[in-house]
Symmetry: C2
Subunit: 118 residues, 2 copies
């Protein structure tokens, strides 16, 4: 196939320089999204959206993944019908050194402390 990709099959991401701290923090201030990021961080590779067992419908899941992608927290691409997602560690570490690690540690710590779902 010579064409680039099917329409709607290409996903817009912000450039590294366009990533803003407030937007990232806002993206992570939602419990569902924080949980996605936490699970994503433990996975060695990228994960498909359907790998997650979230307490919301599929529509809402799509919405949350988009917020994460548009804020620059994750990178997404299609692989067949599956949409793979992975953390943008390199970009985030470059922009905000140590922030992602501290954030993930805090998220895991709180999760262990309060032991909510998942």
């Amino acid at each position: 196939m010579t064409e680039t990709a099917a329409p709607g099959r290409v996903l817009p991401h912000p450039d590294r320089a366009e990533i803003r701290l407030e937007t990232v923090l806002h993206a992570l201030s939602d419990p569902v999204r924080l949980r996605i990021v936490r699970e994503l961080s433990t996975a060695a590779d990228e994960l498909s959206c359907s790998r997650f067992d979230l307490p919301v419908t599929k529509s809402t899941t799509t919405h949350h993944f988009r917020v994460l992608r548009e804020s620059g927290v994750i990178r997404q691409c299609y692989r067949g019908t599956a949409k793979m997602s992975g953390l943008r560690r390199d970009d985030l570490d470059d922009l905000f050194p140590g922030l992602l690690d501290a954030l993930l540690a805090a998220a895991r710590g709180q999760h262990a402390r309060l032991g909510e779902d998942t």
Copy 2:
């Protein structure tokens, strides 16, 4: 006056154990509040609300300080008519080790990079 204190003169703060990461991140996802915290972090001591020159009205300023206090990011107390505010470094460092420093570094870095107001 026989009553304990004037109404509204006592400020409710969340206990350390009640501070939630999502709430903290949400509190810091607003540019005005992030700026308050950034200025607060450079001050050796506590500051009064009127020390800040924010691009919003006083009503809105009160609102933002309350969000920060109720999320557990800052501690506030009255000193005469002035309301003093200070970061809850000890509590935050205990709950989320390294997070506050990484956050402040990220905020300063972005501020230096983009050079917005203030």
